[in-house]
C-alpha cells in the first residue's frame, strides 16, 4: 500500500494552533480526561545511562493520548455542530477515542472503517457507541465514504492529526509533564501523522524551550525523517513497520510546526522497538504498543545522545491485543 497524502480540511489547517489553544484544551478536557501518572524505573535508568520519566498515556481513557485531542475537538463544537455529530476515518486509537469523547457529550459519532481493520479495535469503537461505516481499504474509498457521511448527516470531520483542535489537545500531555518540572534535557515522542508531535512542540516551546524535542519514527515509515532532511513534506512512501499507529503520513500543518521547531527525528528499527516493549513489560509490568515503545527504543539505541540527561518519554498508548502478541514478538 502506498500512502498518498490525505486531503487536508483547508479551513482547519489554515490556522496553526498555538500554546493558548493548548491551555484552552487543557481546561476543556479536564472534567473528562485523566491526568496520567509519570512512571520511573531505576533498572531502566541504569540500562539507558540516563534518567527516564515516562508520561503514561497508555493509562489515558481509551488507552491512548488520542483521547485528549478527540475530547478537545468534541467539546469545542458549537451546539449546532454538536447536534449534527462528528465523523472520522480511523480504525485505530483515534476512532475509539473520538467515539468515547463523543459519548461524554452525547454527540453522534460516525467512524469509517476500512476492510481488514483489526477486529478488536473495531469492536472497541463500536462498544463506545459509534456508528460504523464500512468501506474498501484505500485512502480514496475512505475519503469518499467520509464525504458521503458528511453530506448525509452534516457531521463535522475530525481528522486524526491535522485538525487544530486535535493538535492542541495532544499538546496537553507534555503540558502536564512540563507544568511541574521543566528540568528535562530531552523529550521524546513517537511520530506518525504528527498530531502528538506538533502539540508537544507547542508545549515545549512555551514551557521549557531548553528541552530538546526528539521524534521517534520507525525506519520502515520514516517519511518525517525524510521531510525534515529535505525541508519539504515527503508524502510518497510505502510503510513497512510493526508500529501500526505510525504508518500514516505526516500532516501538512504538522510538518510546518515540527520543521519550525527544529525537532530531531530518530529512526528506529522494529527489532529494537519490540525489544523495548519487552523491557517495559519485564521492568515496569506495563503493556504498551510498539508505536509507544519506539520512543524508549530511540533512547536505548542512541545512548550517546542522552548520557547522564533527564529525559521525558511519552508512552503514547497501550492497546495491544493479547492474541496478537506472539506474532508481534516473532517480528521483533
Amino acid at each position: 500500500m502506498t500512502n498518498a497524502a490525505p486531503a487536508q480540511p483547508a479551513a482547519r489547517a489554515a490556522t496553526l494552533p498555538d500554546f493558548d489553544a493548548v491551555l484552552a484544551a487543557a481546561a476543556r478536557i479536564a472534567p473528562h480526561a485523566h491526568v496520567t501518572p509519570v512512571l520511573r524505573a531505576h533498572s531502566l535508568d541504569a540500562l539507558a545511562g540516563c534518567e527516564l520519566h515516562f508520561k503514561a498515556e497508555h493509562l489515558q481513557r481509551a488507552g491512548a493520548f488520542k483521547f485528549r485531542g478527540a475530547c478537545n475537538a468534541i467539546w469545542s463544537l458549537t451546539p449546532d455542530e454538536a447536534a449534527r455529530g462528528v465523523v472520522t476515518h480511523s480504525s485505530g486509537n483515534h476512532g475509539a477515542a473520538l467515539a468515547l469523547a463523543a459519548r461524554t457529550r452525547g454527540v453522534a459519532c460516525h467512524v469509517v472503517v476500512p476492510e481488514g481493520a483489526v477486529a478488536a479495535k473495531v469492536a472497541a469503537i463500536e462498544a463506545y457507541g459509534a456508528v460504523l461505516h464500512r468501506c474498501a481499504a484505500t485512502i480514496a474509498a475512505r475519503e469518499a465514504k467520509c464525504a458521503q457521511v458528511q453530506a448525509d448527516t452534516g457531521a463535522e470531520l475530525v481528522h486524526p492529526y491535522t485538525d487544530s483542535r486535535v493538535i492542541a489537545g495532544q499538546g496537553t500531555a507534555a503540558m502536564e509533564l512540563l507544568a511541574n518540572d521543566t528540568a528535562f534535557d530531552a523529550l521524546i515522542v513517537p511520530v506518525g501523522g504528527g498530531g502528538l508531535a506538533a502539540g508537544t512542540a507547542l508545549s515545549v516551546a512555551a514551557l521549557s524551550p531548553r528541552t530538546k524535542l526528539f521524534l521517534a519514527e520507525p525506519s520502515g515509515a520514516a517519511e518525517t525523517w525524510a521531510s525534515m532532511q529535505r525541508g519539504e513534506r515527503v508524502t510518497e512512501f510505502t510503510p513497512d513497520t510493526v508500529c501500526d499507529g505510525l504508518r500514516g503520513t505526516l500532516g501538512d500543518p504538522n510538518f510546518v510546526m515540527l520543521h519550525q521547531h527544529r525537532a530531531e527525528v530518530l529512526k528506529v528499527d522494529d527489532r529494537d522497538t519490540i525489544a523495548a516493549m519487552r523491557l517495559l513489560w519485564q521492568r515496569t509490568k506495563q503493556i504498551v504498543e510498539p508505536s509507544s515503545a519506539v520512543a524508549l527504543a530511540a533512547v536505548l539505541t542512541r545512548k550517546d545522545l542522552f548520557a547522564g540527561q533527564r529525559v521525558g518519554i511519552v508512552l503514547s498508548g497501550g492497546n495491544v491485543d493479547p492474541d496478537a502478541l506472539p506474532e508481534l514478538f516473532a517480528r521483533g
Copy 2:
C-alpha cells in the same frame, strides 16, 4: 508431584506475629520498599457490579509483595546474623525478593534452586546477587541442601511464608491500603502458602474488622479451602494449576491465623483466572501473574457475594515471562 508439608522452623513458628509486628515491619522496610499505588478501572467496576480498588503489588520492587516480607526479615537480623547471611529454597518470587532485600543490607544470600526451575526466574535471583545452590526437584532434596548450606555457612533460614518476620512484612500491603481508607466491605488476596493471607488478616483485624477477608485459591491446589472446611491443616495434595505461585502448602502458623480470623476461601478455575488476567491487560494495561489475577477472577465468578460493595484486591505480582504467554493463554 505431591506436596508434603515442609518442615517448620520451630523457633519462628512457635510465636505467631501480631499487628505490632506489622507496624514494626512497616517502619523497618520504609526506606527500601515502594508504597504501591491503588489502581481503579471504571470499566471493570461495571463488569464486576462493585467498586474495585487494586493494591498494585506487581509494581513493588522485584515485581511482587514478597519483597516486603523478605526485607523485614533481612532488616530484623542482628549484626551477627547478618554477617552469616541468609538462605532459602524458592526459585520463585521469594527467592528474588530475598536476594534483592539482602543486597539492600550487604547480606550474603543463598538460594537453593531445584532442577527444572524457570530459567528466567533463576536468572533474576542471580542478577540480584544471590549464590545459587542446585539440587534435585524434591522437597527432601531442597531441605537437605538448605540444611547443608546452613551448616556450612551459619546462614539464617528465611522460610517463604511460615517465618513470622515474613508474615508481618506481607501484612504491610493491606496496612497501607487500610491506613487511609477503612470503608472496604471486602478484601481479597490470593492464598498459596499463606504468608500474604496471614499478614493481611492481622491488618484487617486491627484496622478494619468489618472488612471481610476472602482468600482466592486455584481449584487445582485448594488445600486451604479443604483445611478451613475440615478445621485442620490438609497437607497431602497434588497441585494442578497454572498459578505457579500458589502451588505450595498452607503453612502451620498461617493455617492457625487464618482459621482464627475465619477467612473465607473462594476456589477459582484456571480458565477464569486466565480470563481475568486478559481483562486486566486489556482494561488497565497491567501485566499480572495468574497467581494475582486469581483474586479478580474470584470476584467475577462470585458477583453475588460482592454486589454493590467496595472491594479491595491485592494484585500480588507481575513476573510473567513474555515468551511463556502463549502457553499460559492456551491453558486458560
